[in-house]
Every structure is written in structure tokens, then in C-alpha cells.
């Protein structure tokens, strides 16, 4: 019963808001070019499937590629920073400085260098994923307890064994918590890149729909981009559940 209500309660909550939106919006006098009703937004997905799909796919590819490249680079740099003290001392402040530059200020530079194709969007999505994963991964790699370190010392484990069998598994909870956050930020990065210069993608569709007062298309693009984040989040959650099974039941 509790399991069923866990599923039904949020569905009821969302549906009640959609029903209220559908029926109260026309009564409020807000014009349709500012806020469409839910049925009009859903209609875009059925009547203009090609438009949504042709813009969804590029954004999905940019976000996914950015997610993989950004997080992979973050994990590799974290390992480097965690085990090479001089490199950490020399370059971690540079990375910190780089992180303080707002991504919106950095994006035009990246577009200028790489042009209007998918590459700059992938780079922006990767950069936005990079820093939180880097910081979390460095902390995760150092999160083994003193007793765990001593246990591996007792067993005369070498540095690679300690990394592989202790530090890396210990870092997984923190890595997965950043990956979950990165599923949303990668999509934001791809869309921000498309805003600055693109003729396709959900970001481009959002800009076009806004300037043409096509609020149904604008809202449909927002729903599509949020669905992309949710799908990526779900995949990460499934992988996490498989990898971390048994950890803290």
C-alpha cells in the first residue's frame, strides 16, 4: 500500500496542477502567446513531432557527449591531482580560477573559436560538468578512513592496489552524486551554447519561439529539455544502483 501510494501521490500532485492550469488559465485573462494551456503544449508533440525531434536530437547528442567528456576529464584530472602533489599545487589554483569565469561569459569565446557546429556546445556542456565532478572526485579519493589505510598497509599493498581496491571504490558515492547533478547541468550547457549561436537544437527552438510569440512551441521545448535531463538522471540512477548494490542496505 505504501509503495503504491509512493507512486500515486506524485502523479496525483502533478495531474492536479495540470488540471488547474488547464481550466484556470483561460479564466485568468493571461493571453495565449504568453502562457499556453497544457493541452496546447501536448498538441505540439503530436502535430509537430518532426520539429521537436529534429531539435531534440542535436541537443541530446551535445549534452550526452559533453556529459561523458566533461566527467571523464574530471575523473582523470582528479586522479592526477590526488596522487601528484606538485601538479595539484601548481595547477589546482588555475582550475579554481577558471571555474570562477561565468559560463555565459566564456561561451561566446568558445563559439568564436569553434564556430557554430556541435563542437562548441559539447565543450560548453563538458566545462559545466567538469568542476563539480573534479572537486567531488578529489574528495572521494581521499575519503578512506585511517583504519582502511592501515588495513592496506598491514597487507603490504602497493600504491596501485590501494588506488584500485580502496580509493577508487571509496570515491564512488561522491562521484555518483556529481554525475546526478551533471545530468541537469550538461543539458543546461548544451542549451546555453545553442542560445549564443545555433540554428538547431532545443536552445535555438526556445529563442525562435520566444521571438515569434509561439508560447506553445517554447513550452514544448522546455518540456523536451527537462525530459532529456530526467532520462539521463534515470540512467545514472540505474547504473548507480547496480554498481553500489549492497553498500548501505
Amino acid at each position: 500500500m505504501t509503495r503504491l501510494s509512493n507512486i500515486l501521490a506524485p502523479i496525483f500532485g502533478a495531474l492536479s496542477i495540470l488540471v488547474a492550469w488547464q481550466f484556470l488559465l483561460p479564466l485568468s485573462g493571461v493571453p495565449a502567446y504568453i502562457a499556453p494551456t497544457p493541452t496546447k503544449i501536448i498538441a505540439v508533440f503530436f502535430n509537430q513531432t518532426d520539429l521537436i525531434l529534429s531539435n531534440f536530437l542535436p541537443t541530446a547528442m551535445e549534452a550526452l557527449a559533453g556529459f561523458f567528456i566533461g566527467n571523464l576529464a574530471a575523473v582523470l584530472f582528479a586522479i592526477l591531482f590526488a596522487y601528484a602533489r606538485f601538479i595539484r599545487m601548481a595547477y589546482f589554483p588555475v582550475v579554481l580560477f577558471f571555474n570562477t569565469i561565468p559560463i555565459l561569459a566564456l561561451s561566446p569565446i568558445i563559439i568564436l573559436i569553434f564556430g557554430l557546429g556541435m563542437t562548441p556546445k559539447i565543450i560548453i556542456a563538458a566545462i559545466i560538468c567538469f568542476f563539480p565532478t573534479l572537486v567531488n572526485m578529489i574528495r572521494g579519493l581521499a575519503s578512506a578512513s585511517k583504519n582502511e589505510e592501515e588495513l592496506f598497509g598491514m597487507l603490504s599493498a602497493n600504491k596501485f592496489e590501494i588506488f584500485l581496491r580502496l580509493h577508487l571504490p571509496r570515491s564512488l558515492p561522491m562521484l555518483f552524486s556529481s554525475l546526478r547533478i551533471a545530468t541537469a547541468t550538461a543539458v543546461i550547457g548544451a542549451i546555453v551554447g545553442e542560445w549564443i549561436g545555433a540554428d538547431k537544437g532545443l536552445g535555438a527552438l526556445i529563442i525562435q519561439a520566444t521571438f515569434n510569440y509561439q508560447s506553445d512551441k517554447l513550452y514544448a521545448a522546455i518540456v523536451a529539455s527537462s525530459s532529456l535531463s530526467i532520462a539521463m538522471f534515470a540512467v545514472v540512477a540505474v547504473v548507480e544502483a547496480r554498481v553500489m548494490r549492497g553498500w548501505a542496505r
Partner: protein
């Protein structure tokens, strides 16, 4: 120094941090014959765990001499002649019970060595863990986790088992049961056990000899031989009058020292 399990002469123990040296324990003179069950009793901060870490080669002494099985503590550790059991079990949560017990066989250059499955099964039966091989540590009780930690320490058949308050966080009933099981394992294997505890009852019940330590500064107050009040194989009753009076005597000694 051969023929002894542990021999320490004028040992000075502490921590070095750059030029700062903090001495935790000094003037430690100790001879532990092979096969002895020695308990190390004392209040927090007296350096009893630190002493155990020097024997385990997890910490280098500041001065003095120490030999483990006639060699350096490092040689004993590298040869897996010493096993260590921590207070919090220190099981890796991502490994099952079986994988945790096998950990010593997969690190420290031991990859090539195949452990016979019968060895694992024997150890699990010895420690009452049969049927739990595929469980994760999060699915075990505190007592079961410590049993797994002991099994992991025993897999290499060490000659000396070093135990740092292994039952300190357990409830009294579980602790009493594990005390009896540990005595059974000690009798069966004939290994040397150095057992650190802050429980006077536990120290007196388990040990053939009890090292009583005091804090501020950390030092050995007394090495007390309990063999005269116990039978040859260390069997005794918890309510044995001699044991009860020993417990009272050690409590008095510790109270006077603090």
C-alpha cells in the same frame, strides 16, 4: 631475541610531525613468549593502541629495540606473520563477506596465490559465518562484522594476532560470546594474541598476563601474571572468586594511578 613472539627493550613510542616529537609511551620493556594470550589494559590515551601499531609496523618507534618473531616488525608484516583486527571491523562495504575475507589474498603481491575454497569454508565455520558469504557488511550485525574481520586476519594463518579493542563497540552479551569464541580459536591455533581493551573484566577474563597501563604520561604500571589463578588452558569462570578479586585489584591499581 629469537624464540620470543615479541621482545621490546626500552621502547619509546610517539609521533613525529616535522621537528615536533610527541612521546606517547616510554621505557617499554616486554617479552611475549610464543602462544601467549596477552591483554593490554588501560584508560584512553595511555598509548595501548599505539603500542600495538608499533608491533604491527604501522608506526615506527622513536627509540629502543623491538623484535617480532626474532626479526623486525616490518619483516613480520611483509611475511604476513602478524594479523590485525581493528575496533570498527574495517570491512569494505562494496565487498561481500567472502570477498572481504579473501582481501589479503588479492593485495600485497599475493594475486598469484590461489586460496583453496575449503580454507574459506573452514574459517567461516570456525567463526560461525557459514551461509553468510554473499552478504554485504551492511546486512550484518556488529558481532558478525567483527567475526568477518577476525576471519580476514586469520586467512594468512598469522603467528601473532594483534587486536585493538575489537569488541569495544559491541553489547555485553555479544562481547562475552565472542570472548569465549576467541579463547576457543586461540586454543585451537596456538597463536600469540595481543589484545588491547579498556575493560578490566575482559582483560582479566581473556589474558594469561595483563599489561596494566596508565596515561599522562603513558607508561606500563604493572605486568600481572594470571596463570596461577587459571588452569593450564586459560579456562576460567567469570564468577570465579580469584578472577573477581583480580578484577578488583586491577581496578584499584588503575584508580590509584589516575
Amino acid at each position: 631475541m629469537s624464540g620470543t613472539a615479541v621482545e621490546a627493550q626500552w621502547l619509546e613510542i610517539g609521533y613525529r610531525n616535522g621537528r615536533d616529537v610527541t612521546t606517547v609511551l616510554s621505557d617499554v620493556n616486554l617479552t611475549v613468549p610464543p602462544g601467549e594470550f596477552l591483554t593490554i589494559l588501560g584508560p584512553s590515551g595511555c598509548g595501548k593502541s599505539t603500542l600495538l601499531r608499533v608491533v604491527a609496523n604501522l608506526l615506527d618507534p622513536l627509540g629502543g629495540q623491538i623484535a617480532v618473531l626474532g626479526n623486525t616488525p616490518e619483516a613480520a608484516r611483509r611475511a604476513r606473520k602478524t594479523g590485525f583486527v581493528f575496533q570498527d571491523a574495517t570491512l569494505l562495504p562494496w565487498r561481500t563477506v567472502g570477498q572481504n575475507i579473501r582481501l589479503p589474498a588479492v593485495v600485497g603481491g599475493r594475486q598469484a596465490r590461489q586460496l583453496p575454497d575449503t580454507r574459506i569454508a573452514e574459517l567461516m565455520a570456525l567463526l560461525g559465518l557459514s551461509g553468510l558469504e554473499d552478504r554485504y557488511p551492511s546486512q550484518l550485525s556488529g558481532g558478525q562484522r567483527q567475526r568477518v574481520a577476525i576471519a580476514r586476519a586469520l586467512i594468512d594463518e598469522p603467528e601473532i594476532l594483534l587486536m585493538d579493542e575489537p569488541f569495544g563497540a559491541l553489547d555485553e552479551i555479544t562481547r562475552d560470546r565472542l570472548n569465549d569464541e576467541l579463547l576457543g580459536i586461540w586454543r585451537e591455533t596456538g597463536m600469540t594474541i595481543l589484545f588491547v581493551t579498556h575493560s578490566i573484566e575482559e582483560a582479566v577474563y581473556l589474558g594469561q598476563r595483563v599489561i596494566v597501563m596508565a596515561a599522562n604520561p603513558g607508561r606500563i604500571l604493572n605486568i600481572h601474571d594470571l596463570r596461577p589463578v587459571k588452569t593450564g588452558d586459560n579456562r576460567c569462570q567469570r564468577d570465579n572468586a580469584a578472577i573477581v578479586s583480580e578484577i578488583a585489584a586491577q581496578r584499584q591499581l588503575l584508580a590509584e594511578a589516575s
